[in-house]
């Protein structure tokens, strides 16, 4: 009779899957807290958390309904829409850029202009190229003189071993913290200081079909996340503990690093006067315009097609 009961319990739970943007780290604390503390279950959800091998994959898999939700990047979503890939963004998870340019101090790069004649490693996306071009040019440099090397997602090995002089696409809360901890004396250049519009670093996306079918479920999902986020905000230490407890044997999360990371993250995940997750169309418009200007996208996209707020202001 006991098994019967659990059976019926499980039957009531609605399944929903989410693919993270990368392997679990501090930014995902809210999700793991929601899972651990039963917030998902409260909403009647059974959430399957998946990890990608390539940061480009989550969005694609959401578009092809291989997962219901994915954590992706605002830039990436606009780019996808421009390519006609049917995804919508349902919530802003991190409201500001985490992206930055990093280099070892010893290389002596003080501003983007100094990248001239240097080798910059970046992950397989044109957006980072556009970012660096914007920054170098804003700083009065010549982008043509910068060597760009696609290093895949092995950003840290690339810079650590000195195979490249600087990396783009690394996060201030992750790569930067980690590299410093490993004993490399790192410098970083902020994107917004050199003409790149601030953006929603992480957004939650869904395929158009999935969104239309599971709108209500997604709303419930977000409510659980919100609750998780509240918890982490008030008990960062405990929130991290949940994350670390969840780590699998082969991910090497370092408590110190993640604590520092979370400290950086929390202020960037919320803005005053805006509900957690709410997306402003102006932000989307601004980024889309910049991407269009830089020639990354060849067709203008309308933010209205992309933004499907599941929380209202």
């Amino acid at each position: 009779s006991e098994t019967e009961q659990t059976d019926s319990n499980e039957k009531e739970l609605e399944e929903i899957s989410i693919m993270l943007d990368w392997y679990p780290n501090a930014v995902h604390s809210a999700i793991y807290v929601a899972e651990e503390k039963g917030y998902f279950e409260e909403q009647g959800l059974d959430v399957k958390i998946e990890m990608p091998a390539d940061a480009n994959d989550p969005l694609k898999l959401a578009a092809t309904s291989k997962v219901d939700l994915a954590i992706s990047y605002q830039n990436q979503v606009i780019l996808s829409r421009a390519e006609g890939i049917p995804v919508v963004s349902v919530a802003a998870y991190v409201r500001h850029s985490l992206d930055s340019i990093m280099m070892k101090k010893e290389v002596g790069i003080e501003s983007p202009k100094d990248l001239e004649g240097k080798n910059v490693g970046y992950p397989s996306t044109v957006i980072t190229e556009a970012v660096i071009q914007t920054m170098v040019e804003a700083d009065g440099g010549d982008f043509e003189k910068v060597t760009m090397t696609d290093v895949g997602w092995d950003l840290m090995p690339a810079i650590a071993t000195g195979n490249v002089d600087a990396i783009g696409g690394g996060y201030i809360n992750h790569e930067y913290v980690l590299l410093n901890k490993e004993g490399y004396d790192m410098n970083l250049l902020k994107l917004s200081d050199y003409g790149v519009p601030d953006n929603y670093e992480l957004v939650i996306v869904a395929g158009e079909d999935t969104f239309n079918k599971k709108k209500e479920t997604i709303k419930k999902f977000w409510q659980a996340i919100e609750k998780g986020h509240e918890f982490v905000k008030t008990n960062p230490e405990e929130g991290l503990q949940v994350l670390l407890a969840n780590e699998n044997d082969d991910s090497a999360l370092d408590k110190e690093v993640e604590t520092a990371s979370l400290e950086i993250l929390l202020p960037l995940m919320e803005d005053d006067g805006v509900p957690f997750g709410y997306q402003e169309e102006e932000s989307w418009q601004e980024v889309a315009d910049w991407l269009y200007e830089m020639g990354v996208i060849e067709t203008q996209v309308d933010p209205k097609d992309i933004v499907q707020n599941i929380v209202s202001k």
């Binding site: 091998a53 390539d54 898999l61 699998n248 082969d250 991910s251 090497a252």
Partner: protein
Amino acid sequence: MKQIKKWLQTYSLFCLFTIILLVIVEVLVRKGIVPNFIIPAPTGVVRTIVENWKPLLLEHLSVTMLEFLIGFAITVIGGIALAVSMFFSKIVEKIVYPAVVISQMIPIIALSPIFVMWFGYSIWSKVAVTVLISFFPIVVSTYDGLKSCDKEYVELLHSMGATRFQIFKKLHIPMALPSFFSGFKLAIVFALVGATIGEWLGASKGLGYYSRRMSGNLNAEGVFAAITILTILGILLFALASWLEKRTIYKWKDTD
């Protein structure tokens, strides 16, 4: 005893050489001449394997093996079926043979993002890579083996009034075995590499995933631990295939 002696004669030099190489690496790393993240100390790799044997073998190896087994089964069954139909039908042969050969020229890795979209992160994306990479040797070697049969033998059996099926069974199949096995031995190794590549491109378990994950973490010991296990597994599979070949080709007897 005699077999052990023969084995020693064949491999002792190689083993000696390998050991010397490992010792040199160990010394270089320990003395700090070569940094640990470029080549890990062999003892470090062994320690990693020993310390993590449980997740490595139970969690990751088992997943890789499952992908390998499904993929290789599909390859062998499908490959043989295809080779046989090519053998019996000129039309199938003319369509399939070039396609199979050309499939070899496709850089599978470049195709992998597409695979991820087709199959997601399910086991099937890894199975697909496994099959694609090991299909060619099986199909071509089986087909070539079937074709290789001397016309004079076929005529002899014809003259005895044998049916086409009898000739196929009593002549073409055994004649094809040596060629089939040379493809089989290649394919079994390729299939394992295929499963690893598949995982490398998108997975959450498996030795390929593990090694990629470790590489992202700058953990060279972890990378080499996974590679070591995969290589040993590859050698074992190859040895198994060779043993099967020996048994079948040298002792093969047709019974009705």
